[in-house]
């Protein structure tokens, strides 16, 4: 049997490309095709304004999708994110109406997010309940609380500077939310792909029992992820309030499904342990560009959703086919002498 002299038998170029899985490569191709098609169909598509607008329309979703990526790689799920966004926005509106200054309301709301995340974390780690059930309950609970806080009215009388923060560029052409997204993106890429914490996230997602037997503090890592998810969702809720300039009980209603769709589309396995943030980002860009391009081409929202649905099914099919190929390779390897 041949054993290469070096541990990693790849050239730097191979490495750069090889880091992308088949699916991520496919996503990249789809993304390029989408961008080229969009650009050829519409003159405004490639303008800075349109590009920023394209991000802005779904900015809260893609911010939350970052932490959702880590949670799903960890073989868990957080269905309560959109309800937490709603709760955060409503709590913010409520505080504002009770004359709490915005500078104080923001940290309070973010703390509420951390608290809500801790709630999830407690039931999932200490009580050992499945995150699917716990966060489904919180999806209902947080949303209920949000509706209690603002009842049937909408709150729209935020000061002008606050709305402007959500809508106008802050640095150069970039609005605040987009800057936050980029900062978090870099942060999470480093955390997931370059730190020990990220390695633990993958290992637990792969084989939780094994991680326990290897002395990994499984519960602490899971709890950290859920608290981070609550916190970031609350932040996204405030950003939503600023961008739309209004708060109602149904803020971000149903967003969790769009968020999870983007993550899964990015090649992150729903069973955990597989996928990268790069895949997730490609998927976000595809969804944003598809929707934007199809909107520019006057294609209805329903058809847009249909196209994304087809992609999602492919994203589940293709890695499975990869698994089948792997199995074949395995049986070949085991038959080797």
């Amino acid at each position: 049997m041949n054993i290469a002299e070096t541990g990693v038998a790849k050239s730097p170029l191979q490495k750069a490309v090889g880091h992308l899985t088949d699916w991520e490569g496919f996503l990249l191709a789809v993304l390029l095709v989408t961008i080229i098609a969009n650009a050829s169909m519409s003159d405004v598509f490639l303008t800075v304004n349109n590009q920023i607008n394209l991000f802005q329309l779904s900015i809260e979703k893609i911010i939350v999708a970052l932490i959702m990526t880590l949670i799903i790689i960890n073989a868990e799920i957080d269905l309560s994110v959109a309800s937490m966004m709603g709760l955060a926005a409503c709590a913010f509106g409520w505080l504002f109406h009770h004359d709490v200054p915005i500078g104080l309301a923001v940290p309070i709301v973010i703390l509420i997010g951390a608290l809500g995340g801790s709630f999830n974390a407690f039931f999932i780690t200490v009580m050992g309940l499945p995150s699917l059930v716990v966060t489904l309950a919180m999806l209902i609970g947080f949303r209920g609380l949000a509706r209690v806080l603002v009842e049937d009215r909408g709150i729209t009388d935020f000061p002008e500077w606050f709305d402007a923060l959500g809508q106008q560029p802050l640095i150069g052409p970039f609005p605040l939310a987009l800057l936050i997204f980029f900062a978090l993106l870099v942060f999470f890429i480093v955390v997931l792909h370059f730190t020990g914490f990220g390695r633990y996230v993958y290992m637990i997602g792969n084989n939780k029992e094994m991680a326990v037997y290897s002395g990994v503090a499984v519960n602490r890592i899971k709890a950290t992820l859920f608290i981070a998810s609550g916190t970031i969702s609350a932040l996204a809720g405030i950003l939503f309030a600023a961008r739309v300039g209004a708060v109602r009980g149904d803020v971000a209603l149903g967003f969790e499904l769009d968020i999870i769709t983007m993550v899964l589309l990015g090649g992150i396995s729903i069973f955990g342990g597989r996928g990268t943030l790069f895949g997730a980002v490609f998927a976000m860009l595809i969804v944003l560009n598809l929707r934007n391009g199809m909107a520019l081409a006057n294609i209805t929202h329903h058809l847009q959703t249909g196209v994304i649905g087809v992609l999602l099914i492919l994203s589940v099919l293709l890695p499975n086919m990869r698994g089948m190929i792997r199995q074949f390779r395995e049986s070949r390897a085991s038959a080797k002498s």
Binding site: M1, N2, I3, A4, T6, G7, V8, A9, K10, V190, F194, T195, G196, F197, R199, Y200, Y202, M203, N206, N207, E209, M210, A211, V212, Y213, S214, G215, V216, A217, G273, R274, R326, R329, E330, S331, R332, A333, S334, A335, K336, S337
Partner: protein
């Protein structure tokens, strides 16, 4: 001899450039137990998969009753009377025994005749000479009982050639005996049995003929009376057998590394007391269900005991988690590498550094990848892990090499007390010898070693002392030099608890 029931002629199977079987020929006669032995990767699995229609051969032919057959799937093989049972039986837990037996019967019509089904199931089980209620739920059957169900299922399909692939590797000695009895019963009925096992003593006990496979080629087929164990081993590995299972001298020092006193976990085990010295190899022998693993897990902190004391060095230790145990220099190499040992879809390097990941993190947690790779390469060399590169998914490696990656993970923690749970189960003779020599080297460097093993020849070859357990109780401690298989089995089966000597 009569006409063979199944014959392979010049069978080859290629996977791309790899030849898994090369011009392999075999004759199986009705009413014989035919053992097939060989190292992992010798081509046994490929042979089985061709016989059961999972693979189609690249060249060569298969003859049944003098007539050429081509199987395109297991269903076709089954209708011709070729079936296989495996180490891990395929039993549906939500169905009962009878339902499981008649699972694969097609064409029974739209409605089941339940009364007849249960009656037939009862008859089949009786034919095997075992006691098993046909209306018991399959959930809760032991592994051995599940195998019985599988054999009965094969019988119900009128099996002519039954392939048993490593059927005994997870069974207790008693269950192995029962399985052997079933095999003999079937032989008497004229069924041909192909018996695949890593345990040569079983081969000698039950087989009529034995075929050795190496590198996909037929090495020999002979009557069992014409071969010796050493002869088989050297044919399997292509080397001289003398180096295997040779006892080497003790490395035991005087300092006690681990002292366990009156360890009790209610309802699981009670009053376990022993010590391990630096450089000593202490083996735990016993049948499956003797609770040896539970004792190990309580020392490793995964399932702490209710009472009793664990002393490391000479200090009393409080171990409530695996992390506590690791801080004290204790490591546990699990028997279940798939579930508890490795992340199969992660690279070799990530698996090797998991237990010690902190070593590779900067203050803010950034991993030093090149130092990780360095470690993985070090262990690849030291443990002779066969992988072209350490970025390969560990699931792509063979069983023996996976075992070594798991070992690398724990060696990197530089443990002073190392617990091995069934370290050589399901790996081939060559890899087994390598694991033994690793254990020996570790002991030499002063590591205190505990080995849980159901393989008595292994226990006798490795142990300085042997603790025998039975159903959660400590039956006695033997000296490794003077212990015999018979004495250990007597204690492990509870036949005479009094003869234990310290």
């Amino acid at each position: 001899m009569a006409q063979p029931i199944l014959e392979l002629r010049g069978m080859s199977k290629n996977f791309g450039m790899t030849e898994a079987l090369k011009d392999f020929s075999l004759e199986i006669h009705p009413g014989e137990i035919h053992a097939v032995v060989g190292e992992n990767g010798a081509g046994k699995s490929t042979m089985i998969k061709i016989m059961t229609g999972v693979y189609q051969p690249s060249s060569g032919e298969m003859i049944m009753h003098g007539e050429r057959v081509d199987f395109h799937g297991t269903a076709e093989a089954q209708t011709r009377g070729v079936a296989a049972i495996y180490q891990e039986p395929m039993v549906f837990p939500d169905l009962d025994v009878a339902e499981n037996i008649f699972l694969s019967h097609q064409g029974l019509g739209m409605f089941m005749n339940w009364r007849r089904t249960y009656e037939d199931a009862r008859k089949l089980i009786a034919r095997l000479g075992v006691a098993l209620d046909e209306d018991r739920s399959a959930n809760g059957l032991t592994l051995a009982e599940q195998q019985t169900v599988e054999i009965a299922r094969a019988l119900s399909l009128n099996v002519k050639v039954l392939i048993m692939d490593e059927p005994t590797s997870s069974l207790s000695a008693h269950e192995v005996e029962k399985l052997m009895a079933i095999a003999r019963t079937l032989r008497a009925e004229g069924v041909a049995i192909i018996f695949i096992s890593h345990r040569l003593e079983e081969v000698f006990e039950v087989a009529d003929r034995v075929t050795v496979l190496r590198d996909g080629r037929l090495i020999s087929t002979r009557l069992i009376g014409d071969v010796t164990a050493d002869g088989l081993i050297s044919e399997m590995v292509g080397r001289d057998a003398s180096e295997f299972f040779a006892r080497s001298g003790t490395q035991r020092r005087d300092e006690v590394a681990l002292d366990v006193r009156d360890l009790t976990l209610d309802g699981v085990f009670s009053s376990i007391s022993f010590d391990v010295k630096e450089g000593e190899v202490l083996c735990f022998a016993g049948l499956v269900g003797a609770r040896r693993t539970d004792v190990a897990l309580s020392i490793f902190g995964v399932a702490p005991a209710d009472s009793g004391g664990i002393f490391v060095g000479s200090r009393k230790a409080s171990i409530r988690s695996a992390n506590d145990a690791m801080k004290l220099g204790i490591a546990y190499v699990s028997e279940d590498r798939r579930k508890l040992g490795l992340a199969m879809t992660m690279p070799v390097v990530a698996n090797a550094t998991l237990a010690t990941l902190r070593k590779y993190m900067s203050k803010i947690g950034i991993l030093n990848r090149s130092s990780e790779i360095e470690t993985a390469l070090k262990y690849r060399k030291r443990l002779n892990i066969r992988t072209p590169d350490v970025d390969r998914e560990v699931g792509d490696l063979s069983g023996g090499n996976q075992q070594k990656v798991m070992l690398a993970k724990w060696l990197d923690a530089d443990p002073r007390i190392l617990i091995f749970d069934e370290p050589t189960r399901g790996i081939d003779v060559g890899a087994k010898a390598e694991v033994h020599s690793i254990i020996h080297d570790l002991a030499k460097s002063g590591v205190a070693i505990i080995v849980i093993s159901s393989d008595l020849p292994e226990v006798l070859a490795l142990a300085d002392r042997i603790v025998v357990m039975r159903e959660g109780r400590q039956m006695g401690i033997f000296d490794g030099e003077t212990a015999t298989q018979e004495a250990i089995i007597r204690l492990a089966t509870g036949q005479s608890a009094n003869e234990a000597s310290a």
